[in-house]
Symmetry: C2
Subunit: 349 residues, 2 copies
């Protein structure tokens, strides 16, 4: 029904849809070298916290396959090193580290096995992780779809669909599940500057599902809320702290403040792999700063004077008290998050 | 010192800097047919409420020059008609109608004079209007510059400099006057989607004045406020109602809500020609809706799927209770605006 996938494993290589080229071209990259997975993550050929997690796991599997040693100890050491390299691709989405931790835990659990056998296990684990991600997203989407009602005008920011995950989507997965349950509603799509994930990707995915949408500049969301044209806002997450503070694409915090000001519910949808229970609050989330050229240039063309300086924070942090609920595969966590997230933590571990 | 002008009268033609091409090319259009002035306003070759007012007056003068009749009554009728045509170029900036009303009032006051003499008067009046606009902006800038202090980090949205006016600028004029008074501060420039007046024009003007700035995506303003990096926000206006409600570039209302939420002063700077005392509040301001292609395409390239629908509201309306003060050539109006604007109205009339 959705004739595309963000990433998959194909015998001995990773295939991933190059999201930098969407919606103009649908091109799949075929990757056999884990360095190219790092490059794909770094340059946003694949992006979205859950998809980055899957890509990292598959990159680790590719890296493992290429290791020449037959010595388990040497293998373990080299595998740890390449996982560290992959972990440095991007700093904010915690799924990256979560997926690599899981691959390393598997390697450690079977450290005494022959290297060939361990490689097989790692390749299988990366594929399990992809399958699990889809199943988790479908559970998450079912948990959240009750929040969407007929006639709703839903605002979303950035992209949280099948492209941002192994499959199905998080916030967009909730909308998809509601649509598949027969509800009829429409979506305001924030274009999401600077890289236009809303304009390029969310529109493309909603079009494939058949959900009606209208694209808007990010700055127009406030006016629509003022006019009473937004019933609910829903976004994804790149990292959620133990208290519910949520890092997500730059612009999300503004949407949350505006929703709060206008009395509009603001929901976050994310799998438990996006939670970082090791940090107490959002102040501890490292926010990636990307090159200013992503703001001063547009598809290779300068849109500002040649000497213009620009600040390009890739994410912002929305404090938990602006969040109406956090939709996960374990259910919808409601405030107070101190207790509701503690319960979810038990589901995760 | 600022080696450019948005618009001027040159013997028998209008010269205007084509802002659609900035900052890549500095090209002056030379216009002799008032229809081309309408087209320049409509397509944003010239934009900014005060500049639109000057352009409309000069367009009316060009139109008057081209009228063939020597009969004063016939001239009056044809002049009224061409002013109506110009008035239809854009709906929101009230300076357009204000300038045309002024040209028509002059024509009526001298309706019995020979047509040749009246044409001279109209051409002269359009040039007076340009000169007055510069003088007004300089007074406005002086009235407001006391609000800017050393070390301030000022956020602005869209473009309000010499390009948006006859000369000098409104909100950017306030910053320029503060800079010329020796204050040292920096500016966060909202890029201002969809047409990037911040990225293309405000950066270019601040660079020429020498004020340090950093360009940001519109969605990043909230995060900067959250981090305590914004001391004051200042914007222009396209129309201000009798109660202080202010229409300005889409995204302005969001900035105002965010400033309010973070306890940051939010100022509007506009000449009295931007006030529309005939309407009680912002609900009566017609908001232009422009083509969706300005959102779905970027300099001729599609950034969304071919069948994507987009909403492109050119302006939004900020309610007066979110505005800390309105800077005019008659001084800075403070809340309650019911009384402070009534006093300014006497200055205007």
């Amino acid at each position: 029904m959705i004739p595309y996938c963000s990433i998959c494993w194909d015998i001995d290589k990773v295939k991933l849809l190059d999201q930098r080229k969407l919606p103009r071209e649908e091109i799949y990259l075929e990757i056999t070298d884990y360095h190219d997975v790092i490059e794909a993550i770094r340059t946003l050929a694949i992006r979205g916290a859950p998809a980055i997690g899957v890509a990292a796991a598959m990159g680790a599997a590719l890296g493992a396959l290429a290791l020449k040693t037959e010595d388990p100890k040497e293998f373990a050491s080299q595998f740890t090193n390449l996982c560290r390299e992959i972990a440095a691709a991007r700093p904010t989405a915690v799924n990256l580290f979560w997926a690599l931790d899981r691959m390393q835990a598997l390697a450690q659990a079977h450290a005494s096995e022959p290297v060939a056998k361990l490689k097989e296990r790692l390749v299988a684990e990366a594929q399990v992780l992809l399958k699990e991600d889809e199943a988790i997203n479908r559970r998450l989407a079912q948990a959240g779809q009750g929040l969407i009602h007929d006639g709703h005008r839903v605002l979303t920011h950035c992209n949280t669909g099948a492209l941002a995950t192994g499959a199905y989507g998080t916030a967009l997965g909730v909308l998809r599940a509601a649509w598949e349950a027969g509800k009829r509603f429409s979506v305001w799509v924030d274009e999401t500057r600077p890289l236009l994930q809303g304009a390029r990707l969310t529109t493309w995915e909603l079009g494939k599902i058949g959900i009606p949408y209208t694209l808007i500049p990010d700055g127009a969301a406030a006016a629509l809320m003022q006019k009473g044209l937004v019933d609910l806002a829903i976004v994804g997450a790149d990292r959620i702290a133990a208290n519910g503070d949520t890092a997500n694409k730059i612009g999300t915090y503004g949407v949350a403040v505006l929703a709060h000001f206008h009395g509009i519910p603001f929901y976050v949808a994310a799998p438990l792999s996006t939670f970082d229970f090791s940090i107490p609050d959002g102040g501890h989330i490292p926010v990636e700063e990307r090159a200013g050229e992503e703001v001063t240039h547009f598809w290779g063309q300068a849109v500002a004077p040649a000497d213009a300086s620009a600040l390009n924070l890739a994410f912002d942090v929305t404090p938990h008290d602006l969040i109406s609920g956090i939709i996960t595969e374990g259910g919808v966590a409601q405030p107070p998050y101190a207790s509701s997230l503690k319960a979810l933590r038990r589901v995760k571990s």
